[in-house]
């Protein structure tokens, strides 16, 4: 039997095959289909069009619906779309619906999914959102798909998958103070480019990866798609298994690759050489050390999203903002309700994160959702409308991404976004 990477092994197992190799087109059994308010209604439309009005989903427990994109808006169609999800959940009697306006609402799907125990090592997850690659952080094969594929999965539980080649990133060394997981992935994307891993699995290993927390692993795998990857994946360690077991009663079997499995390419880094950085407009590969960008005057700092709106992201931001004042509009958008609650209870030197943000002059903490990460309806919190220059902990800086075509976006870590909010220009957090 040929040696296989962990991505290949997970796919082989889910296709009922002893072995697969990159390039094989195989039908894979899906464990979890994730959808949300933006792509769910279209997916449901395709599901009923193709399988009939009376069709039933492949597995009630396998379809997880987390509305998160356009929640806090007056947009009528956005509300209509959540109503469509609501009716579908009722019709199909689905147990996992994180409904807006109820205590079940959880916020951004890519944090809600693991926090509620739907991400398990060794499983296959597909979702109607490109950042579904985030869940490889816990050792699952997880990838973003469109409505048509999702409608197909909804009815059959199966998906046609081309087995990706694996590119391995071995991250050695210890990351320096003030360098975060976001700096690591921006550096990698800067090196390989936005199509540097197209169609491939990005596998992250090495002592620096093993030392990463769950939140940091999510940051790294979340942005695999910004290099074009099909999935990002990190071998689970004991911390991963403990995190998952605390959140699900379901059995799961972690899958690890053969150490000598062939890969398309291997990159080896010493992360002790990494520095705080940004991705300049208008593409995530436009890497620059933060210190080279101090001439960039800012109008806004945005801390939020599945990439940069996790508890540890806010702890990092608060560690910078404690006892300091921001001089530009600073937006704090926790990704999920769980994170929002922890902003109240997590303290640094006796002060809650929420208090630290308030005393620093940040805007009041917004309710959890995708908010301005992708612009959205015109009344979306934090959306740009003019020529605002933004530093943001989100994942994309395409033209118009946060709303206005004329508002340039610099992607950065929460530490750099917070330090820059204090200075009003791009600031390396080591220089504050």
């Amino acid at each position: 039997m040929n040696k296989m990477t962990m991505t290949e092994k997970i796919l082989a197992k889910h296709a009922g095959l002893d072995s697969v190799k990159p390039g094989d087109n195989i039908w894979v059994n899906v464990d979890i289909l994730l959808t949300h308010d933006v792509c769910g209604p279209g997916t449901i439309g395709i599901f009923h069009r193709e399988f009939g009005d009376d069709a039933k989903v492949f597995d009630k427990e396998g379809v997880v619906i987390i509305p998160d994109h356009y929640i806090f808006t007056a947009d009528e169609k956005a509300h209509r779309n959540v109503d469509t999800l609501r009716e579908f959940v009722k019709e199909q009697d689905l147990p996992y619906f994180y409904e807006p306006g109820t205590p079940n609402y959880c916020g951004v799907c890519h944090l809600g999914l693991p926090q509620h125990g739907h991400v398990r090592p060794g499983e296959v997850i597909v979702g109607t959102d490109s950042h579904t690659c985030s869940h490889g952080a816990l050792g699952a094969f997880s990838t973003g798909i469109g409505n048509t594929d999702a409608g197909f999965v909804m009815g059959t539980g199966k998906m046609l998958v081309k087995v990706p080649e694996t590119i391995r990133f071995v991250l050695n060394g210890k990351k320096p103070d003030y360098v975060s997981a976001k700096d690591m992935i921006l550096r990698i994307i800067g090196d390989i480019g936005v199509d540097g891993a197209t169609y491939c699995a990005m596998e992250f290993t090495g002592e620096a990866v093993d030392a990463l927390t769950i939140d940091e692993r999510i940051t790294i795998c979340n942005m695999a798609v910004e290099a074009g990857a099909k999935n990002g994946i990190i071998p689970p360690n004991q911390m991963t298994l403990d995190y998952v077991k605390a959140r699900t009663g379901k059995e799961f079997t972690p899958v690890y690759g053969d150490p000598d499995a062939p890969v398309l390419k291997e990159y080896v880094y010493d992360v002790s050489t990494f520095v705080p950085c940004v991705a300049k407009p208008h593409i995530p590969s436009n890497y620059a050390p933060a210190r080279d960008c101090t001439d960039i005057k800012l109008d806004r700092s945005y801390i939020g999203s599945c990439t940069g709106g996790k508890l540890e992201d806010f702890v990092m931001a608060a560690s910078i903002l404690k006892g300091r004042k921001v001089c530009i509009d600073t937006f704090i958008v926790p990704a999920t309700t769980e994170i929002a609650e922890k902003l109240l209870t997590t303290e640094i030197d006796g002060k809650s994160l929420v208090t630290i943000f308030a005393e620093a002059g940040c805007l009041p903490v917004a309710p959890p959702s995708c908010a301005a990460c992708l612009g959205g309806p015109i009344d979306t919190f934090g959306r740009t409308h003019g020529k605002e220059v933004v530093i943001s902990t989100t994942n994309r800086n395409f033209i118009g991404r946060m709303g206005s075509k004329e508002a340039p976006i610099y992607l950065a870590s929460p530490l750099t976004a917070a330090a820059s909010a204090v200075k009003g220009y791009i600031c390396d957090p080591r220089d504050l």
Partner: protein, 179 residues
């Protein structure tokens, strides 16, 4: 099948926010009037200095073929992207390479043919030129002088494209029942 149309020429890394800005993702592609509306917003994310892609009086594009560079469709998994192009009247995209999800969504929906070229064609055409794509022969011809350029074989997805999309293919291979 032959597609004869005017071309619209773009560069590298044309992302899904340019193809269909997130503001319009409240529209649901399976609702016919919203499908048409998505078409009217195709390429609405392009800077305002660019030639408009859609004729606002008709909600359709005069450019039935898109020519682009590397990594076309990067970014979001929004199927609204190939849908918006298809709904606007674009029939084929001819790019040097694609982002994975856009390519897959184009094939799965059958909205546009996603052809790749061996060499970049962005300098061989300018917006407004007439071209003809011959799907079977795998060529694109510049009508002004008859110069023919070769398109890459669609490879493993050719049977899915030929079946009109993922559902047609799955029915052909017996993965799901015929309607």
């Amino acid at each position: 099948m032959k597609i004869k149309a005017k071309v619209y020429v773009l560069g590298d890394n044309i992302d899904t926010d340019l193809i269909i800005p997130a503001q319009y993702l409240n529209l649901v592609p399976t609702i016919p009037e919203e499908y048409a509306k998505l078409g009217s917003y195709a390429m609405a994310g392009l800077p305002d200095s660019e030639i408009p892609y859609v004729d606002q009086s008709t909600g359709k594009t005069p450019y039935g073929i898109m020519i682009a560079g590397k990594n076309f469709g990067c970014g979001s998994s929004r199927e609204h992207a190939p849908v918006a192009l298809g709904a606007a009247g674009c029939q084929a995209v001819v790019a040097e390479s694609y982002a994975r999800i856009f390519f897959r969504n184009s094939v799965a929906t059958g909205e546009v043919y996603p052809f790749e070229t061996a060499a970049p064609l962005t300098a061989e055409f300018k917006t407004g030129d007439e071209a003809e794509v011959d799907v079977e022969a795998g060529t694109i011809t510049r009508c002004a002088d008859g110069k023919v350029f070769t398109l890459k074989d669609l490879g493993a997805v050719a049977p899915v494209v030929a079946a009109g999309g993922m559902f047609g293919y799955a029915r052909q291979v017996g993965m799901i029942k015929s309607k």
